[in-house]
């Protein structure tokens, strides 16, 4: 029984984009309104929850500083994503190529997820120092689990018919991987990437908390310690915007790159 698209999909593309931008803006306005309401209604002292006005004001007056630190964090996020995706893919390939390995590696994977990165941060610092490397690695570790499981699930679940077909055409193991298994895994991989993109910023910020002298996480801790809470929220706001932008950009790119994703 086919499921038919709702009316909205029959709108022109331009209209749809306009609508969703509009919707996003209205949502933002509603959130800000609620926030202001909470501040006023509960008489929140500004060191607990500053008013959105104060935060916006801070964004305006300190935009140069904020931008500089944003750029640092953005770099860490992107490099972390690159590293984490590569690592996850390689790990998944290893598990695929050497089947029995999988059962042994799974507990390690879960453990890697269960141990808070914070706790091993000193070890990381010891190895990688206080530069960008340690943040990149922490961001990579934090996305490692979802990326690896998605990659592996994708690579493993190639429809057996595709493999049969290619084998009868004389494909080698390597050709199977390159021409069949890898492209067939892309949709699953894409959902891994979507999750990764949402959580990688957290990794970068945590890395900055453990030790750094720049970046949004550094700025937040500083501001927090100085009780300049509106600046902390300004940094937080930028971080959220950064994450959401990253998510939607990735989503659009992935949809373009893998048009067959949703059948």
């Amino acid at each position: 029984m086919a499921q038919y698209h709702s009316v909205s999909t029959r709108l022109s593309k331009k209209e749809r984009i306009t609508y969703s931008v509009l919707r996003l803006m209205i949502s933002a306005a509603v959130i800000l309104g609620l926030w202001q309401l909470v501040v006023v209604a509960f008489q929140m002292p500004s060191f607990i929850l500053p008013s959105p006005m104060a935060v916006l004001d801070r964004l305006g007056t300190r935009y140069d500083v904020l931008l500089k630190h944003t750029w640092v964090t953005a770099q860490e996020i992107l490099l972390g994503l690159g590293l984490g995706l590569t690592m996850g893919l390689m790990f998944a390939l290893m598990m695929l190529m050497f089947q029995p390995l999988k059962r042994w590696l799974l507990p390690i994977l879960i453990a890697s997820q269960a141990i808070p990165v914070f706790a091993i941060a000193p070890v990381m610092m010891l190895w990688l120092g206080y530069g960008i490397a340690s943040k990149v690695v922490i961001a990579a570790i934090i996305i490692f689990f979802p990326v690896t499981t998605c990659c592996y699930d994708g690579l493993r679940n190639t429809p057996i018919g595709y493999l049969d077909l290619a084998k009868t055409m004389g494909a080698s193991k390597w050709q199977l991987l390159r021409h069949i298994q890898f492209p067939a895994a892309l949709p699953t991989l894409a959902s891994g990437i979507r999750v990764a993109v949402v959580i990688a910023p957290i990794g970068a910020v945590v890395g900055e908390w453990v030790g750094s002298s720049e970046g949004l996480g550094y700025l937040m801790l500083q501001a927090n310690a100085r009780m300049i809470i509106d600046e902390m929220f300004a940094a937080l706001f930028i971080l959220a915007v950064l994450s959401i932008t990253l998510y939607f950009t990735t989503d659009i790119v992935l949809k373009k790159a893998i048009p067959w994703e949703n059948k």
Binding site: P45, F47, I48, V65, K68, H69, A121, P122, M125, L126, G129, Y130, W209, V210, G211, S212, S213, Y218, L219, L221, Q222, A223, N224, A225, R226, M227, I228
Partner: protein
């Protein structure tokens, strides 16, 4: 030829680090033949570990923690003193509810864990007949001022007298301080420099100490110029009213003779920790407090 030194602060740069920043900004380190790289961690327990592991040359730490670290077997020595008095205080809001330590019986005390709070607080409270088990100790992390201001705790321990009092004042809260050294706790040096016991270089440390001493002298003589130069180090985060007030309150705390050694001060405090079973072995000051010029 200049020597490269890595110095890790105990936390993000703040006015307590004044002499370090001034020494760097005014070129005292270079004059002493040193190229000092400053790093800022977010967790005060990391720097000492990294010095002990040989990853950095010098770190800012605290006298009580040095004693605990040495007792735990970390190869550390004290290199010099940055702030020669305690900065920690027990703070309450000055609203008439807690006028003496005795009033804290049954109340909540927020702390930022540093390891020696049990010894200190039980001594201070014990003087007024309150047992440690009569108060409720809560780790509030770095939210000391706000937890006190918001009334979630009745007192805080771990705030610095040059910093948290001003912070609260800026938010419109008047705070009352109880000083540990006035309530039975041996006096100690709040901020010190530590180096690796096995690999430290005597000449480097002496050169370093010299630069710090020069900077301290400059700060004491020219407080407002020094403030300008301090802020110039990281205007993004340093230039604000709170730091300005903290700066003024720190001036009188910097050690004028960073290299000066007082074994007894270290041994007394070590005894204090040992008596309260914070440490299980009693290190001797002469073993980890070498003398430098």
């Amino acid at each position: 030829a200049e020597k490269n030194l890595t110095l890790m602060l105990d936390w993000f740069v703040n006015p307590g680090h004044g002499p370090i920043i001034i020494a760097k900004e005014r070129g005292y380190f270079e004059q002493a033949g040193l190229q000092v790289k400053i790093e800022e961690p977010a967790d005060p327990s990391t720097p000492a570990k990294l010095v002990a592991a040989g990853k950095v040359d010098l770190a800012v730490s605290y006298q009580p923690n040095l004693t605990m670290d040495v007792s735990a077997g970390l190869p550390l020595i004290r290199a010099s003193t940055l702030v020669a008095t305690p900065l920690n205080t027990l703070l309450v809001l000055d609203n008439g509810k807690n006028d003496s330590l005795a009033d804290l019986k049954g109340k909540k005390i927020g702390i930022s864990i540093s390891g020696n709070e049990e010894a200190t607080l039980s001594t201070m409270l014990g003087q007024e007949g309150v047992k440690f088990s009569d108060v409720n100790i809560i780790n509030v992390g770095w939210a000391l001022s706000s937890s006190l201001a918001s009334g979630k705790v009745d007192a805080i321990w771990g705030g610095f007298r040059n910093f948290e009092i001003n912070q609260l004042a800026l938010e419109g809260y008047k705070a009352k301080a109880f000083y540990p050294e006035e309530h039975g706790v041996p006096s100690y040096d709040e901020l010190i420099f530590v180096a690796n016991a096995n690999t430290y270089n005597k000449e480097d440390i002496e050169a370093f100490n010299k630069a710090i001493q020069q900077a301290t002298t400059y700060i004491v003589n020219h407080p407002s110029e020094a403030w300008e130069q301090f802020v110039a180090y990281a205007p993004d985060t340093l230039n604000n009213e709170l730091n300005k007030r903290a700066w003024n309150d720190s001036l009188s705390r910097f050690a004028l003779r960073p290299a000066a050694v007082d074994f007894k001060r270290y041994d007394d405090y070590a005894h204090f920790l040992y008596d309260h079973q914070i440490i299980n072995t009693l290190p001797k000051a002469k073993n980890y407090v070498p003398t430098f010029d």
